[in-house]
Chain length 371, copies 2
């Protein structure tokens, strides 16, 4: 037993066959390189891989896409709940409540298995966010079905109430592939701890959403956008970052607990950011991002993680910044589910020990005698 | 690094000054023996101790009781949500959604601090459960304010729509004291993991509720009641348990990860179960429980934990079995909050490693070529 296992860093909390990250591996899902998957796959192939353990063939994939499409509409009582969440609520809190409420009206059971629930949540998460958003912002009750085949395009179409460019749709697809799974990160670990008590899948995913919400985890992409938006030119960026570094301000979207030299996902998303900024005629946004990247490496030896160039990518798709972390949920739910199923298959209650640092004993003083 | 840290058993995941459990300590909250606290304190003293770090004097306690009483009523939009949760929902799922929705309408902020949120949740959890229950069961919209001073009596009065006996009210008080805090149990650890991403307090408590729901954690008291209710006499119990042990059926409410010989809380709750069964003229329920206790010790060397005699105690207070774990929430929320505040005071992201057991690498096959 070690006295200072700060944040369980480097402590092996269990086994997984789902993904390997860091070390010599870069990042693989079930042994497939993230580069191959991001280059060649749509998100639904990855969801299928994570839920069923293998890549689908053409027939399986088209069947799976149809399955998800058939599950997209929201129950009326859920819409009633979403309409009662105020416009200034945190969108991650909307996702959390939406997921929890789905557990009230469509709980896991022998007839509605964990996989059924998982597919239902993958199918409905985009609408949970966007239905609330349009209603809270403009009192508009949107349709939760679109003609879009893919989850990413479905989300963008509902958000903008019209189709986006092919480049936008494919970029969203790639982003969902990149965010889908990442070993024992804090939200996935949360899902596994909750699952280890033999609780239900909605509880595990609701808890994971709560963990992902934090700025040290999923919230980093929003923080990165807020940073980038402070600057209007590369020169201004240089000055601004110099000041922030001197003030020891926290700059989000850099470094990672499991990677020491680079985040492999950054190589992919950075090129998409470049393309999206070019398509939208906003090359300056990309240039500003590159200045920050270079300074963070030169000054701090910190590399951008997936969150950093995701920020400008999402921005170029016309996505409001507070939606960035909820998009992470739409993708990562697939990884969470894989880990929930894996935890159940070989379960042991996750219950660590604590090192006690409080008073040895205190003499009890009755209420009447307390000073 | 160890390959098999199953369930993090014995792994120190951090430091705490809030409670010490097991070892030579039995159970102390901030160094105060659980025996002294259960004998002498009302639940509100314990809530105060856990939130503010010291036992209140008379003035502080009466001020605190008034504060909680002033925060009991539910917002109308929350009632609207609760009315949309069906009667067959799991009451823990109601607590989870109620907590999450409170985070939508009364989020943590500079003006609504974590302590404010904590007190609001302590004050409203009984009504969140009971308002839903009466509406779902009978379409009745109950008042969420009562004249009861204490949380336990407030809950019992709302549930039964009339006052219960003094013995009932005090027993509920003691039960809430016993369940309030227990070091790095799975739900508290969940709250700490979520908090470690710098997420908000509603997210942490919502996740903790999800973890507590599982039968390997809070759900055990419900499972114990279901077991006890199978039997109508000590003789029948002996036969039934003998069969269950022969079949290797799981018998809930026994043993504990951190205690090796006895759960100190059991000594207290067992005597309350005895008194409550006597008051209600149901001595047989207590006798049946004792038979199970004796057989589990003789055959398996397992001792009853807090959950086991809590089952018969709650039953004698007229509480429906599905409410047992939600009562645990009403109490344990105080311990969760103490740990959330402690985690924040010295935060490091809780992010363990995993031992990878999956395929080394798989060659990617394009969709068209997959078999």
């Amino acid at each position: 037993m070690t006295k200072k296992a700060g944040g369980l860093a480097g402590i092996v909390a269990g086994e997984t066959a789902i993904s390997s990250a860091g070390g010599g591996h870069d990042l693989d899902y079930f042994g497939y390189s993230i580069y191959d998957l991001a280059e060649n796959c749509i998100f639904e192939e990855i969801a299928y891989l994570l839920l069923y353990g293998k890549l689908p063939n053409k027939t399986q994939l088209s069947g799976y896409i149809e399955l998800l499409r058939s599950k997209r509409d929201l129950p009326q009582t859920l819409k009633d709940v979403l309409e009662r969440i105020p416009a200034n609520a945190h969108p991650m809190d909307v996702m959390r409540t939406g997921c929890s409420f789905m557990g009230n009206i469509e709980p896991e059971s022998a007839e509605n298995t964990a996989i059924d629930v998982a597919n239902r949540l993958i199918a409905t998460f985009p609408a949970i966010l966007v239905y609330w958003w349009h209603y809270a912002q403009n009192g508009k009750r949107i349709e939760c079905q679109t003609s879009a085949e893919r989850t990413g395009a479905h989300f963008l179409t509902m958000l903008h109430q019209k189709e986006r460019s092919t480049l936008n749709a494919r970029a969203m697809d790639v982003s969902l592939v990149l965010y889908a799974e990442h070993e024992f990160n804090a939200s996935t670990f949360t899902a596994r701890v909750i699952t280890s008590t033999l609780s239900d899948i909605h509880s595990a995913i609701t808890g994971a959403i709560g963990a992902l919400r934090g700025p040290l985890h999923g919230g980093a992409n929003e923080a990165a956008m807020q940073l980038i938006q402070n600057f209007s030119s590369p020169e201004e960026t240089k000055e601004g970052i110099k000041t922030m570094l001197a003030n020891k301000d926290l700059i989000m979207g850099f470094g990672h607990r499991v990677y020491s030299e680079a985040d492999p996902r950054n190589h992919v998303i950075k090129e998409w950011s470049r393309k999206l900024c070019a398509e939208g005629g906003k090359e300056v946004l990309f240039d500003i991002s590159e200045v920050i990247e270079k300074m963070m490496w030169d000054e701090k030896k910190l590399f951008p993680n997936l969150d950093f160039y995701s920020a400008s990518s999402y921005h170029m798709m016309g996505i409001p910044t507070p939606m960035f972390t909820p998009i992470f949920v739409m993708s990562r739910v697939t990884g969470w589910v894989a880990h929930i199923l894996e935890q159940r298959a070989n379960n042991k209650l996750i219950r660590p020990s604590a090192h006690y640092t409080g008073p040895a004993t205190q003499k009890f003083i009755p209420l009447e005698d307390r000073p």
